[in-house]
């Protein structure tokens, strides 16, 4: 786990990690969220509506932004302030995702950084984008 403090962060500081979306992740997210929309559970329903397979929950893929901030950038001393997310392309189980982010602004007075983040799949397609504001405590 990284442990950047505000004085150790500059614009351009970046981090990334890879994760594969599994069926177990989908099952756990269903348990937590209670979102049993058939688009996420029923392959045939999803295919009838133009998708290749069951859609991975947008908020499940967004949860990886939590890992980006909480573990990598800035890591240990992070407090998530806000996040704006867009879901640009569908994500399916088995997709291999690259989650990445770069610091675009640092405010030393209030100890907040802004991160431009994105998630791409194994084909290099951008499946999600995010603007994240993170406080740094301690």
């Amino acid at each position: 786990m990284n442990d950047y403090r505000i004085n150790g962060i500059r614009e351009g500081l970046a981090a990334e990690f890879r994760v594969t979306v599994s069926r177990m992740m989908m099952d756990l997210f269903l348990q937590i969220s209670g979102d049993n929309n058939p688009m996420h559970l029923d392959r045939e329903f999803a295919r009838e509506h133009g998708f290749e397979d069951r859609l991975v929950y947008g908020m499940l893929s967004s949860s990886f932004y939590s890992r980006l901030v909480g573990v990598h950038l800035p890591g240990k001393y992070s407090i998530l302030h806000s996040i704006e997310v867009s879901f640009n392309k569908p994500v399916y189980m088995g997709d291999q995702l690259l989650v990445s982010g770069v610091v675009t602004h640092v405010n030393e007075a209030y100890r907040q950084i802004e991160i431009k983040a994105m998630i791409t799949n194994q084909s290099g397609d951008k499946v999600s984008k995010a603007k994240i504001k993170v406080g740094i405590h301690g």
Binding site: H81, S82, H105, N107, E108, A109, Y110, Q112, E114, K133
Partner: protein, 81 residues
């Protein structure tokens, strides 16, 4: 740059932070006047102003502010020192 010039420049930032296109700020406006003006909004306002006007504020400068008018004067002092 006078007070009205600064208010005209920073009003869009207030409108965006508070998601209210009808919001009108004056020099007398303060946090008690806007329901959602919490600590997070305060950060977003300051960062928005810094970016738009290409300024940097220290924590000491920010801690002394009690109204939009105080911020306006601070901005003027940094733009026209």
């Amino acid at each position: 740059m006078n007070d009205d010039d600064v208010l005209r420049q920073i009003q869009p930032i207030f409108r965006e932070v508070f998601d209210d296109d009808s919001l009108i700020i004056t020099g007398a406006t303060c946090a008690e006047d806007i329901e959602d003006w919490d600590s997070l909004a305060q950060i977003n306002l300051v960062v928005g102003i810094e970016k738009k006007l290409n300024l940097k504020f220290s924590l000491a400068e920010l801690q002394g502010l009690e109204s939009v008018g105080d911020m306006v004067q601070l901005i003027i002092s940094k733009v026209d020192p």
